[in-house]
């Protein structure tokens, strides 16, 4: 199949960007979207043009490195699918495909389609962990976890940290990412001792970098791992609870 690409090119963080059109000819329908870009890049290099830079690694939809805005949709048209798992059979011969980087002020462009997502790491560093220094753990079966809680925690923990939720959000909010980690840990018995401080620290760090949630729900439909927007409600509950607990403590003083 042949498709026309309209790709965002930007030589560096401080350089102006622009769209440029490329013709991708003779692409196999079995090819993945990134293999299509590989083929375009191979041709570009043969003709002496700098290849299109994009982040990618595992190509199995799990590492969270890849992420492209494809025709205005984060990760493209297929529901629950990261860019690397999207295949060209989802497109028609002759299609025009617009490819952009994630657009969010917290994710500055490094080059072409590559953005800097380290703000996500700051949120995890703020409290997205359970303090359990190596060696201090009790036998694993001393902490029974009800299966529904374990399963719900897992559903939240499936987040791959790709940033599609932020890119899809009109406010560039990172509620879904933050909630996924917070809820994973706060649902588990192991996460209880730090649940309040975790909620406050993660939410407030998130707000330093990202916009506010206004319940559009775009994040949920863009998420390649189907993380539920319900997690945001749980996060808000935990945040409120933590703040109230904090007030009570203050009142006691």
């Amino acid at each position: 199949m042949d498709v026309t690409l309209r790709v965002w090119r930007q030589a560096g963080p401080e350089r102006p960007g622009h769209f440029k059109d490329y013709l991708a000819r003779g692409i196999s329908e079995e090819a993945s979207f990134l293999e299509m870009l590989d083929a375009v890049n191979e041709k570009l290099q043969e003709s002496g043009e700098d290849p299109i830079a994009f982040d990618h690694d595992c190509r199995e939809g799990i590492c969270g490195s890849c992420g492209l805005m494809i025709n205005g949709q984060a990760h493209g048209p297929q529901l629950g699918t990261a860019t690397c798992q999207l295949h060209m059979r989802k497109f028609q011969d002759g299609d025009q495909i617009v490819i952009e980087p994630w657009r969010a002020s917290a994710f500055p462009v490094i080059k072409d389609l590559v953005v800097d997502r380290t703000a996500f790491d700051r949120i995890i560093e703020a409290g997205g962990y359970i303090t359990a220094p190596t060696g201090s753990a009790p036998d694993a079966n001393l902490i029974p976890v009800p299966k529904p809680a374990a399963d719900a925690a897992f559903d939240a923990a499936a987040c791959i940290g790709c940033g599609a939720c932020v890119a899809a959000c009109p406010n560039s909010a990172a509620q879904l990412f933050t909630a996924a980690k917070l809820v994973h840990l706060n649902l588990l018995p192991q996460g209880q001792p730090e649940s309040n401080q975790r909620a406050v620290a993660m939410v407030e760090t998130m707000e330093e970098f990202f916009g506010s949630c206004t319940n559009h729900g775009e994040c949920e439909s863009a998420c390649p791992k189907g993380i539920s927007i319900d997690n945001i409600a749980l996060m808000n509950r935990d945040y409120m609870r933590a703040k109230v607990a904090d007030l009570r403590l203050t009142g006691r003083r």
């Binding site: 030589a11 560096g12 196999s28 079995e30 090819a31 993945s32 293999e35 590989d38 191979e42 290099q45 043969e46 002496g48 043009e49 700098d50 290849p51 830079a53 690694d57 595992c58 190509r59 199995e60 799990i62 590492c63 969270g64 490195s65 297929q78 798992q85 295949h87 490094i110 080059k111 997502r117 380290t118 790491d121 995890i124 560093e125 997205g128 962990y129 359970i130 220094p133 190596t134 060696g135 201090s136 753990a137 009790p138 036998d139 694993a140 079966n141 902490i143 029974p144 976890v145 009800p146 299966k147 374990a150 925690a153 897992f154 923990a157 940290g161 994973h184 588990l188 192991q190 996460g191």
Partner: protein, 638 residues
């Protein structure tokens, strides 16, 4: 050099305890006087960096990814072994040890493997305390499943994303230390050289992938946790960026490279659909718990799989290996599949697969139960192939997956360069000639959480109150110059062919001559072709753009260049090892039934190769392997 593995004395159950008691410790107040570099933030690297920092050391951690959460450990699907014996089916530390040595075809160090089995239980405890959401029974306790090469259920799992969840646990522990200021984390930073002085490791040289800046970092010790080298085959299950560069540059600085020919081809991958494919996708071995592997009895049978009656199917693994059936180890399963495909008995449009069929378990347990176990894998298969595996059998094909070879290390996980350690897949230590499923996660985390944090103290104790070497020292300046010259040389070639073209060509040579089956004439041929291709690369590769910013082609060019040298060593090692063992199958050495035929009299050793210079082939050194607890036998899974 005499390869001293520093195996402790006494009975094997006591080795680790005796060793921990015997080695020197660094007291808590002194730990903050040391700086340790950890390169790589996968399971081994992240767990090591976090734990060393918790102990009080200053840690500098490096990853070439944009975040410490992206390493390829994240893609491990099936599970992690431990000798908990929760299912009460007769497991024990000794049995896990025994299975692992046997699974490795008796080419690993008994003492290391025993330690691995001992700490396996602590890993499960640690991960659970971190909140890793392992699968659970309705009573809230942990669930297990079985894996290849074992007759007990000892594999803990988190759906089909065990690697992801364990890595996120380690990454979160690391993030906690980053926030505490005990770990300085460098992202999008690639290590390009190890710096040595007076024969010991004193730091590394890195390139900032965003700016191209070449920088030196100094430390009391350097830990490499930089993974394996399956991407030498171009098409493998590894992530696109996986490479041998850090280990290889260490090799060039004096670290011996052990058993490079021990590579693992994984039996359950999705067959390639066309020649443009960039990588192969693994489907977890856990699928073989329930899935049954078969091909039509009649190679010319063109009916859809569901229309082929039971009597006209050949469940060849169940037929040949009744005791283990579909759960034979990976090397055995892969070779059996490859033989069927080579005999033109393969299925699918390109004839390059065998069926992995779930219709029996779906009929027995229901589709919901199967979805709960393997849902994400089934979805992934559907997405890639556009076929529904609940309705049609999957098609699978063997693909390069894991490399048992790596930097030689002693019992302390130190390489032949004092102060330079290798952990996880980057070392050679625990899997012999074949790794069992669910053992990679176990080893990476054992090394990172429970081995290196103690063993490194024995070396560091000598350097109490000594400063790290200043980075303006000549040793660092020379190494930086070397890295800059190398980058400049690559940028200056300005040839006509792309880096990927060379990588693909190298992969073809390697999979053909040094893949699943190896022969002396084939390896000799490869040893002529690889240097020729490398020379062509050095004269004709084309790298556009500049070196002072993000340049993904330049990054890859350096990695492919190192793969050429590694490929040569793999072939030389495979040629020298005149036996078949595990993943290393020499066609000249097989039993009448086509199984791997070891030669214990002559090859019960580790081959560790010493680098001299680009013009001189490496020299082989041998570490003899002694088996006191495991009885050497022809591996039988019948």
């Amino acid at each position: 050099m005499n390869l001293n593995a520093k195996i402790p004395s006494g009975s094997i159950e006591d080795h680790w305890d005796n060793h921990r008691f015997g080695i020197r410790l660094v007291n808590p107040a002194n730990k903050r006087k040391y700086t340790i570099i950890v390169v790589g933030t996968g399971l081994a690297g992240a767990s090591a960096a976090a734990t060393l920092a918790e102990l009080g050391y200053n840690v500098k951690a490096f990853t070439f990814h944009d975040s410490a959460r992206r390493a390829h450990s994240i893609a491990a699907q099936g599970g992690i072994n431990a000798a908990k014996n929760y299912p009460n089916d007769g497991d024990s530390i000794f049995r896990l040890f025994y299975d692992t040595v046997k699974g490795g075809d008796y080419r690993s160090r008994e003492s290391n493997v025993y330690r691995l089995a001992q700490v396996s239980n602590e890993i499960i405890d640690q991960a659970t305390a971190q909140g890793v959401p392992f699968a659970r029974e309705y009573g809230g306790l942990l669930d297990n499943r079985s894996f290849g090469g074992a007759q007990v259920s000892r594999t803990f799992y988190a759906r089909g994303q065990t690697g992801q969840q364990l890595l996120l646990g380690a990454y979160q522990a690391l993030a906690r230390q980053v926030a505490a200021g005990t770990v300085e984390l460098y992202t999008r930073t690639e290590m390009l050289d190890v710096v040595t002085h007076d024969g010991r490791a004193v730091g590394i040289v890195t390139r900032d992938l965003k700016t191209g800046d070449v920088e030196s970092h100094s430390a009391h010790a350097v830990v490499l946790a930089t993974g394996g080298y399956s991407n030498v085959y171009f098409l493998s299950t590894n992530a696109m960026a996986c490479n041998v560069t850090a280990a290889w540059r260490a090799h060039r600085k004096g670290a011996y490279f052990a058993n490079p020919c021990y590579t693992q081809i994984h039996p359950t991958c999705i067959p390639a659909s066309d020649e443009f494919q960039s990588k192969l996708t693994l489907m977890s071995e856990s699928l073989r718990n329930d899935g049954r592997i078969w091909i039509p009895l009649d190679p010319a049978d063109s009916r859809a799989p569901n229309e082929i009656p039971e009597a006209e199917r050949d469940y060849y693994l169940e037929r040949k290996y009744p005791a283990f059936g579909n759960l034979v180890p990976r090397d055995v399963a892969s070779r059996a599949a490859m033989r069927m495909i080579d005999a033109n008995r393969g299925v699918g449009p390109l004839g390059n697969g065998v069926y992995l069929d779930f219709s029996d378990p779906i009929a027995r347990l229901g589709a919901d139960a199967i979805e709960a176990r393997y849902g994400n894998l089934f979805e992934m298969y559907d997405r890639i192939t556009d076929e529904n595996p609940y309705k049609n059998p999957m098609r699978i094909y063997p693909a390069p997956h894991y490399t048992m070879g790596g930097l030689w290390v002693d019992y302390n996980l130190m390489s032949t360069v004092p102060g330079l350690y290798a952990i996880g897949e980057a070392n050679f230590s625990d899997h012999g000639a074949n790794r069992l499923g669910a053992s990679a996660l176990m080893q990476g985390l054992a090394d990172g959480y429970f081995v290196i944090p103690y063993t490194i103290g024995d070396y560091l104790a000598d350097y109490l109150n000594t400063d790290v070497m200043p980075t303006d020292h000549e040793a660092f300046k020379n190494a930086e110059r070397g890295v800059r010259d190398h980058v400049e040389r690559l940028m200056g070639i300005n040839g006509t062919r792309t880096v990927d073209w060379f990588h693909r060509e190298l992969g073809k040579i390697m999979i053909e001559q040094c893949g699943m089956a190896r022969s002396a004439p084939g390896l000799e041929k490869a040893l002529h072709e690889i240097p020729a291709l490398k020379e062509e690369f050095q004269n004709d590769v084309k790298i556009l753009g500049t070196a002072d910013g993000l340049n993904q082609t330049l990054e890859k060019a350096g990695r492919v260049e190192d793969f050429f040298e590694l490929a040569e060593l793999m072939c030389r090692d495979a040629l020298r090892r005149e036996e078949s063992a595990g993943g290393h199958f020499r066609v000249e050495h097989q039993t009448e039934e086509g199984e791997a035929l070891r030669d214990d009299d002559n090859f019960s050793h580790v081959s560790a190769w010493e680098w001299h210079d680009s013009a001189t082939p490496q020299t082989e050194h041998r570490e003899d392997l002694h088996f006191e607890y495991v009885k050497l036998a022809q591996r039988s899974y019948k």
